[in-house]
Protein backbone atom coordinates (compact mmCIF):
# COMPACT_ATOMS: atom_id res chain seq x y z
CA UNK A 1 0.00 0.00 0.00
CA UNK A 2 1.27 3.46 -0.83
CA UNK A 3 1.00 5.95 1.96
CA UNK A 4 2.61 9.21 3.03
CA UNK A 5 2.32 8.12 6.63
CA UNK A 6 5.73 6.38 6.48
CA UNK A 7 7.41 9.77 6.74
CA UNK A 8 5.38 10.91 9.76
CA UNK A 9 7.76 9.64 12.52
CA UNK A 10 10.80 11.04 10.68
CA UNK A 11 9.15 14.42 10.17
CA UNK A 12 7.96 14.50 13.77
CA UNK A 13 11.51 14.23 15.09
CA UNK A 14 12.74 16.81 12.59
CA UNK A 15 9.92 19.16 13.60
CA UNK A 16 10.73 18.69 17.30
CA UNK A 17 14.40 19.43 16.65
CA UNK A 18 13.55 22.60 14.75
CA UNK A 19 11.19 23.81 17.49
CA UNK A 20 13.94 23.15 20.02
CA UNK A 21 16.22 25.52 18.11
CA UNK A 22 14.00 28.42 19.13
CA UNK A 23 14.55 27.70 22.83
CA UNK A 24 18.32 27.42 22.79
CA UNK A 25 19.02 28.58 26.35
CA UNK A 26 15.72 27.67 28.04
CA UNK A 27 16.41 24.28 29.60
CA UNK A 28 12.99 23.59 31.13
CA UNK A 29 11.10 24.37 27.92
CA UNK A 30 13.54 22.19 25.96
CA UNK A 31 12.86 19.25 28.26
CA UNK A 32 9.09 19.63 27.93
CA UNK A 33 9.22 19.97 24.13
CA UNK A 34 11.51 16.96 23.87
CA UNK A 35 9.26 14.73 25.97
CA UNK A 36 6.14 15.85 24.09
CA UNK A 37 7.85 15.35 20.73
CA UNK A 38 9.14 11.94 21.71
CA UNK A 39 5.71 10.86 22.95
CA UNK A 40 3.93 11.95 19.77
CA UNK A 41 6.64 10.29 17.66
CA UNK A 42 6.23 7.12 19.71
CA UNK A 43 2.49 7.07 19.01
CA UNK A 44 3.15 7.66 15.30
CA UNK A 45 5.67 4.80 15.24
CA UNK A 46 3.18 2.56 17.03
CA UNK A 47 0.59 3.43 14.39
CA UNK A 48 3.11 2.74 11.60
CA UNK A 49 3.96 -0.61 13.18
CA UNK A 50 0.30 -1.52 13.50
CA UNK A 51 -0.43 -0.45 9.91
CA UNK A 52 2.50 -2.49 8.59
CA UNK A 53 1.33 -5.57 10.44
CA UNK A 54 -2.28 -5.28 9.37
CA UNK A 55 -1.86 -4.02 5.78
CA UNK A 56 1.44 -5.57 4.74
CA UNK A 57 4.21 -3.58 3.08
CA UNK A 58 3.85 0.18 3.09
CA UNK A 59 5.68 1.97 0.31
CA UNK A 60 6.15 5.55 -0.75
CA UNK A 61 7.78 6.81 -3.95
CA UNK A 62 9.06 10.27 -3.11
CA UNK A 63 8.03 13.05 -5.49
CA UNK A 64 5.89 10.63 -7.47
CA UNK A 65 8.93 9.31 -9.39
CA UNK A 66 8.35 5.65 -10.13
CA UNK A 67 10.40 3.03 -8.37
CA UNK A 68 13.85 2.62 -9.90
CA UNK A 69 14.21 6.38 -10.56
CA UNK A 70 12.95 8.06 -7.44
CA UNK A 71 13.78 7.41 -3.82
CA UNK A 72 11.65 4.69 -2.26
CA UNK A 73 10.57 4.45 1.34
CA UNK A 74 9.35 1.07 2.43
CA UNK A 75 8.20 -0.37 5.71
CA UNK A 76 8.16 -4.15 6.04
CA UNK A 77 7.92 -6.10 9.29
CA UNK A 78 11.65 -5.82 10.07
CA UNK A 79 11.69 -2.05 9.47
CA UNK A 80 8.52 -1.61 11.48
CA UNK A 81 10.00 -3.52 14.41
CA UNK A 82 13.18 -1.42 14.31
CA UNK A 83 11.16 1.80 14.07
CA UNK A 84 9.05 0.87 17.07
CA UNK A 85 12.13 -0.12 19.10
CA UNK A 86 13.84 3.16 18.19
CA UNK A 87 10.79 5.12 19.27
CA UNK A 88 10.53 3.20 22.54
CA UNK A 89 14.21 3.62 23.44
CA UNK A 90 14.24 7.26 22.37
CA UNK A 91 11.21 7.98 24.57
CA UNK A 92 12.82 6.22 27.54
CA UNK A 93 16.23 7.84 27.08
CA UNK A 94 14.59 11.21 26.35
CA UNK A 95 12.84 11.13 29.73
CA UNK A 96 15.94 9.79 31.46
CA UNK A 97 18.20 12.49 30.05
CA UNK A 98 15.99 15.32 31.37
CA UNK A 99 17.28 14.44 34.84
CA UNK A 100 20.62 12.74 34.25
CA UNK A 101 22.35 15.34 32.06
CA UNK A 102 23.78 18.50 33.52
CA UNK A 103 22.40 21.84 32.44
CA UNK A 104 25.43 22.94 30.44
CA UNK A 105 25.20 19.93 28.11
CA UNK A 106 21.53 20.68 27.50
CA UNK A 107 22.42 24.30 26.79
CA UNK A 108 24.91 23.12 24.17
CA UNK A 109 21.98 21.67 22.24
CA UNK A 110 21.83 18.11 23.49
CA UNK A 111 18.12 17.58 22.84
CA UNK A 112 18.29 19.23 19.43
CA UNK A 113 21.02 16.85 18.26
CA UNK A 114 19.34 13.91 19.99
CA UNK A 115 16.21 14.34 17.87
CA UNK A 116 18.25 14.61 14.68
CA UNK A 117 20.01 11.37 15.63
CA UNK A 118 16.68 9.59 16.08
CA UNK A 119 15.43 11.07 12.82
CA UNK A 120 18.46 9.64 11.03
CA UNK A 121 17.95 6.22 12.59
CA UNK A 122 14.28 6.13 11.56
CA UNK A 123 15.22 7.21 8.04
CA UNK A 124 17.87 4.50 7.75
CA UNK A 125 15.35 1.87 8.84
CA UNK A 126 12.67 3.01 6.40
CA UNK A 127 14.53 3.82 3.22
CA UNK A 128 14.53 1.52 0.22
CA UNK A 129 17.43 3.16 -1.60
CA UNK A 130 21.02 2.26 -0.91
CA UNK A 131 22.46 5.74 -1.44
CA UNK A 132 19.69 7.27 0.63
CA UNK A 133 20.65 4.82 3.37
CA UNK A 134 24.21 6.17 3.16
CA UNK A 135 22.89 9.70 3.61
CA UNK A 136 20.83 8.68 6.67
CA UNK A 137 23.89 6.95 8.07
CA UNK A 138 25.79 10.21 7.72
CA UNK A 139 22.97 12.09 9.49
CA UNK A 140 23.26 9.59 12.31
CA UNK A 141 27.04 9.63 12.61
CA UNK A 142 27.43 13.39 12.51
CA UNK A 143 24.78 13.71 15.24
CA UNK A 144 26.51 10.97 17.21
CA UNK A 145 29.87 12.77 16.84
CA UNK A 146 28.38 15.84 18.46
CA UNK A 147 26.71 13.84 21.25
CA UNK A 148 29.99 12.03 21.78
CA UNK A 149 31.93 15.26 22.25
CA UNK A 150 29.37 17.56 23.87
CA UNK A 151 30.76 18.65 27.21
CA UNK A 152 34.33 18.28 26.02
CA UNK A 153 36.09 16.43 28.82
CA UNK A 154 39.55 15.12 28.05
CA UNK A 155 38.52 11.47 28.23
CA UNK A 156 35.55 12.13 25.97
CA UNK A 157 37.85 13.78 23.42
CA UNK A 158 40.15 10.79 23.36
CA UNK A 159 37.26 8.41 22.82
CA UNK A 160 35.81 10.71 20.18
CA UNK A 161 38.96 10.70 18.03
CA UNK A 162 38.79 6.91 17.69
CA UNK A 163 35.05 6.94 17.20
CA UNK A 164 35.11 9.65 14.54
CA UNK A 165 38.00 8.08 12.63
CA UNK A 166 36.51 4.60 12.49
CA UNK A 167 33.06 5.85 11.54
CA UNK A 168 34.41 8.07 8.77
CA UNK A 169 36.41 5.12 7.49
CA UNK A 170 33.30 2.93 7.58
CA UNK A 171 31.42 5.54 5.57
CA UNK A 172 34.13 5.66 2.92
CA UNK A 173 34.06 1.87 2.61
CA UNK A 174 30.25 1.92 2.40
CA UNK A 175 30.48 4.59 -0.31
CA UNK A 176 33.08 2.56 -2.23
CA UNK A 177 30.78 -0.46 -2.09
CA UNK A 178 27.89 1.65 -3.40
CA UNK A 179 30.11 2.90 -6.24
CA UNK A 180 31.04 -0.62 -7.31
CA UNK A 181 27.44 -1.78 -6.97
CA UNK A 182 26.26 1.13 -9.10
CA UNK A 183 28.90 0.28 -11.67
CA UNK A 184 27.77 -3.31 -12.03
CA UNK A 185 24.00 -2.80 -11.83
CA UNK A 186 23.40 0.83 -12.85
CA UNK A 187 20.78 1.48 -10.20
CA UNK A 188 20.53 2.45 -6.54
CA UNK A 189 17.08 1.19 -5.61
CA UNK A 190 17.56 -1.84 -3.36
CA UNK A 191 14.77 -3.83 -5.03
CA UNK A 192 15.99 -2.97 -8.51
CA UNK A 193 19.60 -3.88 -7.59
CA UNK A 194 18.34 -7.22 -6.31
CA UNK A 195 16.69 -7.88 -9.67
CA UNK A 196 19.73 -6.92 -11.72
CA UNK A 197 22.46 -8.45 -9.60
CA UNK A 198 21.38 -11.96 -10.54
CA UNK A 199 22.12 -11.09 -14.19
CA UNK A 200 25.72 -10.09 -13.43
CA UNK A 201 28.05 -12.69 -14.87
CA UNK A 202 31.14 -11.86 -12.81
CA UNK A 203 30.09 -13.61 -9.56
CA UNK A 204 33.48 -12.94 -7.97
CA UNK A 205 32.95 -9.18 -8.25
CA UNK A 206 29.52 -9.53 -6.63
CA UNK A 207 31.02 -11.42 -3.69
CA UNK A 208 33.78 -8.83 -3.28
CA UNK A 209 31.19 -6.04 -3.29
CA UNK A 210 29.09 -7.84 -0.71
CA UNK A 211 32.14 -8.19 1.52
CA UNK A 212 32.88 -4.47 1.13
CA UNK A 213 29.40 -3.85 2.50
CA UNK A 214 30.10 -6.32 5.28
CA UNK A 215 33.28 -4.49 6.28
CA UNK A 216 31.57 -1.10 6.16
CA UNK A 217 28.62 -2.22 8.29
CA UNK A 218 30.88 -4.42 10.38
CA UNK A 219 32.87 -1.41 11.61
CA UNK A 220 29.64 0.33 12.60
CA UNK A 221 28.21 -2.70 14.38
CA UNK A 222 31.57 -3.67 15.96
CA UNK A 223 32.19 -7.22 14.71
CA UNK A 224 35.34 -9.13 15.46
CA UNK A 225 38.44 -7.57 13.97
CA UNK A 226 36.82 -4.15 13.63
CA UNK A 227 35.46 -3.51 17.12
CA UNK A 228 38.40 -1.89 18.93
CA UNK A 229 37.00 1.61 18.70
CA UNK A 230 33.87 0.66 20.66
CA UNK A 231 35.26 -0.21 24.10
CA UNK A 232 37.56 2.81 24.01
CA UNK A 233 34.73 5.18 23.08
CA UNK A 234 31.42 4.02 24.55
CA UNK A 235 32.29 4.44 28.20
CA UNK A 236 33.30 8.09 27.82
CA UNK A 237 30.05 10.02 27.11
CA UNK A 238 27.30 10.52 29.73
CA UNK A 239 25.19 7.43 30.29
CA UNK A 240 22.07 8.77 28.57
CA UNK A 241 24.10 9.14 25.38
CA UNK A 242 25.80 5.78 25.88
CA UNK A 243 22.35 4.20 26.27
CA UNK A 244 21.28 5.43 22.83
CA UNK A 245 24.63 4.45 21.30
CA UNK A 246 24.76 1.03 22.92
CA UNK A 247 21.13 0.25 22.22
CA UNK A 248 20.61 1.53 18.73
CA UNK A 249 23.73 2.63 16.84
CA UNK A 250 25.40 -0.75 16.59
CA UNK A 251 22.04 -2.30 15.69
CA UNK A 252 21.73 0.10 12.78
CA UNK A 253 24.77 -1.62 11.23
CA UNK A 254 23.17 -5.00 11.86
CA UNK A 255 19.92 -3.85 10.28
CA UNK A 256 21.76 -2.62 7.18
CA UNK A 257 23.62 -5.93 7.02
CA UNK A 258 20.34 -7.85 7.20
CA UNK A 259 18.82 -5.71 4.49
CA UNK A 260 21.79 -6.05 2.16
CA UNK A 261 22.36 -9.76 2.75
CA UNK A 262 18.73 -10.82 2.48
CA UNK A 263 17.45 -8.67 -0.37
CA UNK A 264 20.45 -7.75 -2.53
CA UNK A 265 23.00 -10.53 -2.07
CA UNK A 266 22.15 -14.16 -1.55
CA UNK A 267 25.10 -15.32 0.58
CA UNK A 268 26.99 -18.29 -0.86
CA UNK A 269 28.81 -20.99 1.09
CA UNK A 270 31.99 -18.90 1.41
CA UNK A 271 30.18 -15.85 2.82
CA UNK A 272 28.15 -17.94 5.26
CA UNK A 273 31.27 -19.70 6.54
CA UNK A 274 32.92 -16.32 6.95
CA UNK A 275 29.92 -15.06 8.94
CA UNK A 276 30.05 -18.10 11.21
CA UNK A 277 33.77 -17.71 11.88
CA UNK A 278 33.41 -14.00 12.55
CA UNK A 279 30.42 -14.68 14.80
CA UNK A 280 32.43 -17.15 16.91
CA UNK A 281 35.41 -14.79 17.16
CA UNK A 282 33.17 -11.83 18.04
CA UNK A 283 31.44 -13.88 20.75
CA UNK A 284 34.68 -15.14 22.25
CA UNK A 285 36.74 -11.95 22.09
CA UNK A 286 33.84 -9.83 23.33
CA UNK A 287 33.26 -12.25 26.20
CA UNK A 288 36.94 -12.46 27.15
CA UNK A 289 37.20 -8.67 27.07
CA UNK A 290 34.65 -8.37 29.86
CA UNK A 291 36.49 -10.59 32.32
CA UNK A 292 39.33 -8.40 33.53
CA UNK A 293 37.44 -5.09 33.53
CA UNK A 294 36.43 -3.33 36.70
CA UNK A 295 34.29 -0.46 35.43
CA UNK A 296 30.66 -1.44 34.80
CA UNK A 297 30.57 0.77 31.73
CA UNK A 298 33.59 -1.01 30.20
CA UNK A 299 32.10 -4.42 30.96
CA UNK A 300 28.89 -3.37 29.25
CA UNK A 301 30.80 -2.05 26.23
CA UNK A 302 32.41 -5.45 25.74
CA UNK A 303 29.06 -7.16 26.29
CA UNK A 304 27.67 -5.17 23.35
CA UNK A 305 30.37 -6.68 21.14
CA UNK A 306 29.82 -10.16 22.58
CA UNK A 307 26.10 -9.97 21.89
CA UNK A 308 26.58 -8.61 18.37
CA UNK A 309 28.09 -12.07 17.85
CA UNK A 310 24.66 -13.66 18.42
CA UNK A 311 23.20 -11.51 15.68
CA UNK A 312 26.01 -12.34 13.22
CA UNK A 313 25.57 -16.01 14.14
CA UNK A 314 21.92 -15.78 13.10
CA UNK A 315 23.00 -14.26 9.80
CA UNK A 316 25.61 -17.00 9.33
CA UNK A 317 23.12 -19.82 9.93
CA UNK A 318 20.85 -18.11 7.41
CA UNK A 319 17.76 -20.28 7.75
CA UNK A 320 14.27 -19.08 8.47
CA UNK A 321 14.43 -20.34 12.07
CA UNK A 322 17.78 -18.60 12.57
CA UNK A 323 16.23 -15.37 11.33
CA UNK A 324 13.37 -15.80 13.79
CA UNK A 325 15.95 -16.04 16.57
CA UNK A 326 17.89 -13.12 15.12
CA UNK A 327 14.91 -10.76 14.98
CA UNK A 328 13.79 -11.80 18.46
CA UNK A 329 17.30 -11.28 19.81
CA UNK A 330 17.44 -7.87 18.14
CA UNK A 331 14.21 -6.82 19.90
CA UNK A 332 15.52 -8.08 23.24
CA UNK A 333 19.01 -6.64 22.85
CA UNK A 334 17.98 -3.09 21.91
CA UNK A 335 15.76 -2.78 24.97
CA UNK A 336 18.06 -4.44 27.50
CA UNK A 337 21.31 -2.78 26.35
CA UNK A 338 19.80 0.70 26.54
CA UNK A 339 18.46 -0.16 29.96
CA UNK A 340 21.73 -1.43 31.45
CA UNK A 341 23.53 1.74 30.34
CA UNK A 342 20.85 3.85 32.03
CA UNK A 343 21.23 1.70 35.16
CA UNK A 344 24.99 2.29 35.15
CA UNK A 345 24.22 6.02 34.98
CA UNK A 346 21.98 5.82 38.06
CA UNK A 347 24.64 3.83 39.94
CA UNK A 348 27.16 6.53 39.01
CA UNK A 349 24.80 9.12 40.50
CA UNK A 350 24.33 7.07 43.68
CA UNK A 351 27.99 6.30 44.34
CA UNK A 352 30.07 8.64 42.13
CA UNK A 353 31.85 5.65 40.59
CA UNK A 354 31.10 2.61 38.44
CA UNK A 355 34.22 0.72 39.50
CA UNK A 356 32.87 -2.53 40.94
CA UNK A 357 35.68 -2.88 43.48
CA UNK A 358 34.72 0.45 45.04
CA UNK A 359 30.96 -0.10 44.88
CA UNK A 360 28.89 -2.00 47.42
CA UNK A 361 25.80 -2.18 49.63
CA UNK A 362 23.47 -1.13 46.82
CA UNK A 363 21.00 -3.89 47.68
CA UNK A 364 20.84 -2.77 51.31
CA UNK A 365 20.46 0.93 50.48
CA UNK A 366 18.15 0.67 47.46
CA UNK A 367 16.21 -2.62 47.65
CA UNK A 368 13.47 -1.67 45.18
CA UNK A 369 15.88 -0.33 42.58
CA UNK A 370 18.02 -3.44 43.02
CA UNK A 371 15.01 -5.63 42.33
CA UNK A 372 14.42 -3.91 38.98
CA UNK A 373 18.14 -4.14 38.16
CA UNK A 374 18.08 -7.85 38.96
CA UNK A 375 15.20 -8.28 36.54
CA UNK A 376 17.13 -6.52 33.77
CA UNK A 377 20.32 -8.48 34.50
CA UNK A 378 18.44 -11.78 34.44
CA UNK A 379 16.97 -10.76 31.13
CA UNK A 380 20.45 -9.92 29.79
CA UNK A 381 21.79 -13.30 30.85
CA UNK A 382 18.76 -15.03 29.36
CA UNK A 383 17.16 -16.69 32.34
CA UNK A 384 13.69 -18.00 31.52
CA UNK A 385 11.05 -16.64 31.33
CA UNK A 386 12.71 -13.29 30.58
CA UNK A 387 13.27 -11.97 27.08
CA UNK A 388 16.86 -13.10 26.46
CA UNK A 389 16.10 -16.78 26.91
CA UNK A 390 13.95 -17.63 23.89
CA UNK A 391 16.12 -16.33 21.03
CA UNK A 392 19.22 -17.94 22.55
CA UNK A 393 17.49 -21.33 22.73
CA UNK A 394 16.38 -20.98 19.12
CA UNK A 395 19.94 -20.13 18.05
CA UNK A 396 21.40 -23.10 19.95
CA UNK A 397 18.81 -25.37 18.40
CA UNK A 398 19.46 -24.12 14.87
CA UNK A 399 23.25 -24.34 15.07
CA UNK A 400 22.90 -27.85 16.53
CA UNK A 401 20.61 -28.84 13.69
CA UNK A 402 23.11 -27.53 11.14
CA UNK A 403 25.90 -29.41 12.92
CA UNK A 404 27.83 -26.18 13.29
CA UNK A 405 29.30 -27.25 16.62
CA UNK A 406 32.02 -24.61 16.77
CA UNK A 407 29.39 -21.91 16.55
CA UNK A 408 27.27 -23.73 19.14
CA UNK A 409 30.24 -23.85 21.49
CA UNK A 410 30.90 -20.14 20.91
CA UNK A 411 27.27 -19.27 21.66
CA UNK A 412 27.29 -21.29 24.86
CA UNK A 413 30.65 -19.98 26.08
CA UNK A 414 29.55 -16.39 25.43
CA UNK A 415 26.34 -17.07 27.32
CA UNK A 416 28.26 -18.45 30.32
CA UNK A 417 30.71 -15.58 30.38
CA UNK A 418 27.79 -13.15 30.30
CA UNK A 419 26.37 -14.99 33.29
CA UNK A 420 29.74 -14.83 35.04
CA UNK A 421 30.35 -11.10 34.60
CA UNK A 422 26.78 -10.15 35.46
CA UNK A 423 26.94 -12.23 38.63
CA UNK A 424 30.26 -10.54 39.38
CA UNK A 425 28.73 -7.07 38.97
CA UNK A 426 25.82 -8.14 41.14
CA UNK A 427 27.85 -9.64 43.95
CA UNK A 428 30.43 -6.82 43.98
CA UNK A 429 28.17 -3.82 43.54
CA UNK A 430 24.96 -4.98 45.19
CA UNK A 431 25.73 -7.67 47.76
CA UNK A 432 29.17 -6.74 49.06
CA UNK A 433 29.39 -4.32 51.99
CA UNK A 434 30.60 -1.01 50.64
CA UNK A 435 34.38 -0.70 51.18
CA UNK A 436 34.06 2.91 52.28
CA UNK A 437 31.22 4.63 54.14
CA UNK A 438 28.61 6.36 51.98
CA UNK A 439 28.72 10.03 52.81
CA UNK A 440 26.44 12.77 51.57
CA UNK A 441 29.09 14.17 49.20
CA UNK A 442 29.21 10.90 47.29
CA UNK A 443 25.48 10.46 46.94
CA UNK A 444 24.30 12.63 44.05
CA UNK A 445 21.02 10.73 43.83
CA UNK A 446 19.43 11.76 47.14
CA UNK A 447 19.47 15.53 46.44
CA UNK A 448 17.29 15.06 43.32
CA UNK A 449 13.73 16.33 43.58
CA UNK A 450 10.97 13.74 43.43
CA UNK A 451 10.26 14.50 39.76
CA UNK A 452 13.96 14.13 38.99
CA UNK A 453 14.08 10.75 40.69
CA UNK A 454 10.99 9.64 38.79
CA UNK A 455 12.56 10.78 35.50
CA UNK A 456 15.65 8.72 36.31
CA UNK A 457 13.93 5.56 37.50
CA UNK A 458 10.71 5.45 35.45
CA UNK A 459 12.41 4.73 32.09
CA UNK A 460 14.41 1.91 33.67
CA UNK A 461 11.30 0.40 35.22
CA UNK A 462 9.42 0.89 31.96
CA UNK A 463 12.01 -0.87 29.82
CA UNK A 464 12.36 -3.63 32.44
CA UNK A 465 8.59 -4.10 32.25
CA UNK A 466 8.85 -4.36 28.47
CA UNK A 467 11.54 -7.05 28.87
CA UNK A 468 9.30 -8.94 31.26
CA UNK A 469 6.35 -8.50 28.92
CA UNK A 470 8.36 -9.87 25.98
CA UNK A 471 9.43 -12.87 28.06
CA UNK A 472 5.94 -13.68 29.23
CA UNK A 473 4.37 -13.13 25.81
CA UNK A 474 7.17 -14.91 23.99
CA UNK A 475 4.68 -16.68 21.77
CA UNK A 476 3.34 -13.52 20.15
CA UNK A 477 6.85 -12.14 19.75
CA UNK A 478 8.00 -15.37 18.11
CA UNK A 479 5.03 -15.04 15.75
CA UNK A 480 6.11 -11.49 14.97
CA UNK A 481 9.71 -12.60 14.39
CA UNK A 482 8.44 -15.44 12.21
CA UNK A 483 6.61 -12.94 10.05
CA UNK A 484 9.77 -10.85 9.68
CA UNK A 485 11.88 -13.96 8.99
CA UNK A 486 9.36 -15.18 6.41
CA UNK A 487 9.71 -11.87 4.57
CA UNK A 488 13.51 -11.85 4.90
CA UNK A 489 13.72 -15.31 3.34
CA UNK A 490 11.54 -14.21 0.43
CA UNK A 491 13.08 -11.05 -1.05
CA UNK A 492 10.79 -11.32 -4.08
CA UNK A 493 7.91 -10.02 -1.92
CA UNK A 494 10.00 -6.94 -1.11
CA UNK A 495 10.98 -6.49 -4.75
CA UNK A 496 7.42 -6.84 -6.01
CA UNK A 497 6.15 -4.37 -3.48
CA UNK A 498 8.65 -1.73 -4.57
CA UNK A 499 8.72 -2.27 -8.32
CA UNK A 500 5.23 -3.61 -8.82
CA UNK A 501 3.57 -0.63 -7.22
CA UNK A 502 2.89 0.94 -10.62
CA UNK A 503 -0.48 -0.79 -10.94
Amino acid sequence: MTTNFILAPILMHMFTAIVLLFFWQKVLIQKIISIVGNSIAFLLCLRLFEMTLSQGYLTLQLGGWQAPFGITFISDTLSAIMVLLTALVSLAVGIYSTASLNVSRIKYGYFFIFHFLIMGLLGAFLTGDIFNMYVWFEVVIISSFILMTVGGKKMQMEGAIKYVTMNMLASVIFLTAIAVLYGITGTLNIADIANKISLVENKGLVTVTSLLFFVGFGIKSAVFPLYFWLPSAYHTPPSAIAAIFGGLLTKMGIYAMLRVFTVIFQPDYFTLTLFSIIAVLTLITGALGTINKRSIRRILSYLIICHIGYLIAGLGLNTELAFVALVFYLIHDVIVKSNVFMISGVILKMRETVDITRLGSLLKDYPKFSFVVALVFFSLIGIPPLSGFWPKILLFQESFKQENYVLLAGLIVASFVTLFVIVRIWSEAFWKISPKPITEEIDHFAPFSLSGKIALIAPIVGLAAVSLFIGLNANSFIKLSEKAAYEMKRPEIYINNVLGSKE
Binding site: I142, E158, I161, K162, L175, R294
Partner: protein, 117 residues
Protein backbone atom coordinates in the same frame (compact mmCIF):
# COMPACT_ATOMS: atom_id res chain seq x y z
CA UNK B 1 40.88 8.38 -19.82
CA UNK B 2 39.41 5.46 -17.86
CA UNK B 3 42.84 4.01 -17.26
CA UNK B 4 44.08 7.35 -15.96
CA UNK B 5 41.17 7.53 -13.52
CA UNK B 6 41.73 3.95 -12.39
CA UNK B 7 45.33 4.80 -11.53
CA UNK B 8 44.19 8.01 -9.82
CA UNK B 9 41.65 6.14 -7.67
CA UNK B 10 44.28 3.59 -6.69
CA UNK B 11 46.73 6.37 -5.83
CA UNK B 12 44.12 8.16 -3.71
CA UNK B 13 43.22 5.02 -1.77
CA UNK B 14 46.79 3.92 -1.16
CA UNK B 15 47.93 7.43 -0.18
CA UNK B 16 44.92 7.76 2.12
CA UNK B 17 45.56 4.47 3.87
CA UNK B 18 49.27 5.28 4.17
CA UNK B 19 48.47 8.64 5.75
CA UNK B 20 46.04 7.03 8.20
CA UNK B 21 48.80 4.78 9.52
CA UNK B 22 50.90 7.78 10.55
CA UNK B 23 50.88 8.89 14.15
CA UNK B 24 50.04 12.53 13.56
CA UNK B 25 46.37 13.48 13.95
CA UNK B 26 46.49 15.95 11.06
CA UNK B 27 47.84 13.27 8.74
CA UNK B 28 45.08 10.96 9.92
CA UNK B 29 42.51 13.54 8.85
CA UNK B 30 44.24 14.06 5.51
CA UNK B 31 44.19 10.31 4.98
CA UNK B 32 40.45 10.27 5.53
CA UNK B 33 40.01 13.14 3.08
CA UNK B 34 42.07 11.37 0.41
CA UNK B 35 40.04 8.20 0.88
CA UNK B 36 36.81 10.19 0.53
CA UNK B 37 38.02 11.83 -2.67
CA UNK B 38 39.10 8.45 -3.99
CA UNK B 39 35.61 7.08 -3.36
CA UNK B 40 34.06 10.05 -5.17
CA UNK B 41 36.22 9.55 -8.24
CA UNK B 42 35.40 5.85 -8.11
CA UNK B 43 31.69 6.66 -8.31
CA UNK B 44 32.42 8.96 -11.24
CA UNK B 45 34.39 6.22 -12.97
CA UNK B 46 31.87 3.47 -12.27
CA UNK B 47 29.03 5.59 -13.68
CA UNK B 48 30.76 5.36 -17.05
CA UNK B 49 32.49 8.23 -18.83
CA UNK B 50 30.54 9.63 -21.78
CA UNK B 51 31.95 12.73 -23.39
CA UNK B 52 29.83 15.50 -24.86
CA UNK B 53 26.45 13.77 -24.73
CA UNK B 54 23.17 14.97 -23.27
CA UNK B 55 22.35 13.48 -19.85
CA UNK B 56 18.56 13.32 -20.23
CA UNK B 57 16.81 12.21 -23.40
CA UNK B 58 13.16 12.28 -24.30
CA UNK B 59 11.57 8.84 -24.57
CA UNK B 60 10.66 9.36 -28.26
CA UNK B 61 14.36 9.87 -29.19
CA UNK B 62 15.12 6.36 -28.12
CA UNK B 63 17.79 5.84 -30.77
CA UNK B 64 20.11 8.11 -28.76
CA UNK B 65 19.66 6.04 -25.62
CA UNK B 66 22.84 4.13 -26.32
CA UNK B 67 25.07 7.17 -25.93
CA UNK B 68 23.49 9.31 -23.22
CA UNK B 69 25.57 10.48 -20.27
CA UNK B 70 24.47 9.17 -16.87
CA UNK B 71 23.58 12.13 -14.63
CA UNK B 72 23.21 10.09 -11.42
CA UNK B 73 26.93 9.76 -10.46
CA UNK B 74 27.37 13.52 -10.46
CA UNK B 75 24.40 13.88 -8.13
CA UNK B 76 25.82 11.20 -5.84
CA UNK B 77 29.27 12.78 -5.80
CA UNK B 78 27.80 16.20 -5.07
CA UNK B 79 25.91 14.76 -2.09
CA UNK B 80 29.00 12.92 -0.87
CA UNK B 81 31.16 16.05 -1.22
CA UNK B 82 28.71 18.13 0.81
CA UNK B 83 28.58 15.47 3.53
CA UNK B 84 32.34 15.05 3.68
CA UNK B 85 32.68 18.84 3.82
CA UNK B 86 30.56 18.91 6.98
CA UNK B 87 32.39 15.93 8.47
CA UNK B 88 35.76 17.51 7.72
CA UNK B 89 34.75 20.79 9.33
CA UNK B 90 33.68 18.88 12.43
CA UNK B 91 36.81 16.74 12.48
CA UNK B 92 39.10 19.77 12.21
CA UNK B 93 37.39 21.43 15.18
CA UNK B 94 37.61 18.17 17.11
CA UNK B 95 41.35 17.86 16.39
CA UNK B 96 41.83 21.45 17.50
CA UNK B 97 40.02 20.70 20.76
CA UNK B 98 41.97 17.52 21.35
CA UNK B 99 45.19 19.40 20.66
CA UNK B 100 44.31 22.10 23.18
CA UNK B 101 43.25 19.60 25.88
CA UNK B 102 46.10 17.13 25.46
CA UNK B 103 48.76 19.46 24.04
CA UNK B 104 49.96 16.83 21.61
CA UNK B 105 49.50 15.91 17.97
CA UNK B 106 50.64 12.34 18.57
CA UNK B 107 47.89 9.71 18.44
CA UNK B 108 49.85 7.44 20.77
CA UNK B 109 49.47 9.97 23.57
CA UNK B 110 45.69 9.43 23.47
CA UNK B 111 45.78 5.97 25.02
CA UNK B 112 46.09 7.02 28.65
CA UNK B 113 42.49 6.17 29.47
CA UNK B 114 42.84 2.66 28.05
CA UNK B 115 45.42 1.73 30.66
CA UNK B 116 43.04 1.64 33.61
CA UNK B 117 40.99 -1.49 33.33
Amino acid sequence: MELLLVILVGAFYSAGIYMMFRRSMVKLLMGLLLLGNGANILIFLMGGLTKGKAPIIRPENSKFLEVYADPVPQALILTAIVISFALTAFAIVLLKRVYTTTGSDDLDSLNIQDLDI
